[in-house]
Symmetry: C2
Subunit: 185 residues, 2 copies
DNA sequence: GTCTATACTCGGATAGAC
DNA sequence: GTCTATCCGAGTATAGAC
């Protein structure tokens, strides 16, 4: 999707359909033949995220160690955070989601899949004694998603967010004394 | 600043100068008499943030307990995070900063003041043994700022991020075993 | 200093030929 | 299905009266 790069680099409003058409080697009219309007062209960029999110969760939900699985999922979500244009895309997404209810629904579905998957892993971590039982699984999952967003905001070329991300997540999930070796009596 | 509310609610591009003029009870021409162009009108909203940031840091930099001071500063910065329009404003800011170098400079100065203030508190916390000495003060300060920004992006009306924020920061800063009572031999 | 009126540009979307 | 040509609205910024 070439349009995605342009939207990320320049923003939605400052990227004309003519520009996108040119980048793809066609005319504006042809773009409007395939997409109802400019908004739906933008949405298309995010529609591929849902199956990717489902696959990601499916790949980790049965992992032996839930905490490791959580870190792996978050790493995957933060993978693009080193790319500064990915940060631009996140911002455009947040911005457009307020104006385009259909876009909100699209990204909402993806976010729900991720949140529920993470929440399931958190619940299991609590059961196994590796995660503080005082935490609410769903609320915590939402917070971890926000932390991933923070890695995008902190994006600097060449700087990998993995270290901060891991330390942050482990520090947040761990039971008070950092103790995690006693499932139950 | 009435313009700020409109920019926050609708975004920069979707807010016309005519709209701002109407809200203030004047004409577009008068707005352009006081502001060079639309971009400088937007910048004006953020110019007041620098003195506020300086005052905030000055108020806490000498506090007896650096970790408490850090939490207080971050709480102040995250105070508006429950207000969805503040979230909109941050998004517009991030978005516009990429297009307007002068705006980038304006907010850069404010961010630097905050980062340096936080870094000073972190350094002191390390010296006093309350914060993990393996952390780099400046990098950590930048990361904490990113986490605060993330609380804005994740804003839900009525939900204050204080609890998550505190737990996250304490979990991140604490020395490995949660031990913090031995400054040095 | 503030207004009305408007010049000018740009971009989304469409018409209609091929 | 893809093109060229174009309509149309919107919005920044300015001219010039008062």
């Amino acid at each position: 999707m070439e349009a995605g790069r342009l939207f990320a680099a320049q923003g939605y409003d400052r990227t004309s359909v003519a520009e996108v058409a040119k980048a793809v080697g066609t005319s504006p009219a042809s773009v409007f033949y395939y997409f109802e309007d400019k908004a739906s062209l933008f949405r298309a960029v995010f529609e591929r995220d849902l199956p990717a999110a489902e696959a990601l969760i499916a790949r980790h939900v049965e992992a032996p160690d839930p905490v490791t699985a959580i870190l792996d999922v978050l790493d995957a979500l933060a993978r693009d955070a080193a790319d500064p244009s990915a940060s631009g895309m996140l911002i455009e997404l947040l911005r457009r989601a307020g104006d385009d209810p259909e876009l909100l629904a699209v990204v909402g579905r993806t976010a729900n899949v991720l949140r529920e998957g993470l929440a399931a892993l958190i619940s299991r971590g609590i059961t196994e004694g590796a995660i503080d039982p005082d935490l609410d699984a769903t609320e915590t999952a939402a917070w971890l998603q926000a932390i991933v967003d923070a890695t995008y905001l902190n994006a600097r070329p060449g700087h990998s967010p993995h270290i901060e991300l891991h330390r942050t997540v482990l520090g947040y999930l761990n039971p008070p004394q950092g103790r995690q070796e006693e499932p139950n009596g």
